[in-house]
């Protein structure tokens, strides 16, 4: 199984404006009744465009920094 990190979506902050869905360069998102959802997680490249555009901070693509394990 491939482990996939995906941007996290906080539905309580989402106003369903649809910017993340329409601007995602990979068409990885679709709008649902609750808010955006991933159509196919493999499509998402974790570019962070959705997070940058989201007006409410509902979608986040955080980066975790570590040293290479020896």
């Amino acid at each position: 199984m491939i482990e996939m990190s995906l941007p996290s979506i906080n539905f309580s902050l989402c106003n369903r404006c649809g910017q993340c869905v329409s601007q995602c360069p990979e068409n990885a998102l679709v709008m649902t009744g609750q808010g955006p959802a991933f159509t196919d997680p493999v499509n998402c490249t974790y570019c962070g465009t959705c997070e940058h555009l989201c007006p409410t901070g509902a979608i986040r693509a955080p980066l975790y920094v570590s040293w290479r394990a020896n």
Binding site: M4, S5, N10, S12, L13, T45, Y46, G48, E51, H52, G57, A58, R60, A61, P62, L63, Y64, V65, S66, W67, R68
Partner: protein
Amino acid sequence: METDAINQTPLFLSLAQETRLIIERRSYIRDYPAGYTLLIEGAPAESCYFLLSGEVRAFRMNPLGRAQVLARFKVGEPINIISLLNQNKINRATIETLSPVTVLVLPAVDFNHLLARYPDFSNLILHHLAERLAKMTDLAAELSLYAVRARLARFLIELADLDPTSSGWTQDEIAAHIGTVRDVVGRLLRDFESAGLIQRQRGQIILLDREKLIQQAQE
């Protein structure tokens, strides 16, 4: 519940039993979800918060809406002490939760009472104030002494060395912290990757070459 929180939080271990009792009587506990704005810059400073779980960030906005992240606070750290100690008693920054958090809230009047009457409490606050001042001095030095490329290299090393439990930094937050914009961070990360200094795997940035990164950090 306040008693448990106060007795189990390392932050309060240095305090006398009597001081802890006063804090317990005058404070209360609140839970907030991730993404919640706990304090708004410019609003009256009404309370001091002690972070019992989770992580928050402090930032300021310029008139164009660009954010400068000033600090992140983790478990055990007091929040809003500088605002409460200032003469105008105005929140100096906006505080936003980065994860679900639990805080112990001590109203300003009780914070002042403890400061005036309980030297162990004043010492604790002074100690945190000194730490915060040292961090702010470091940040000011970073912004004035190093180029953006060096600041990013320094920040990546710092995160990997000192902050493995952080709840992650977005590209916008990294940009705000090192005093630049997101596109520049993205471009520099790509540069570092093609130079073999880092490897990016979706949400992970893996630092590969300490020596070369330190070289970048010093330029």
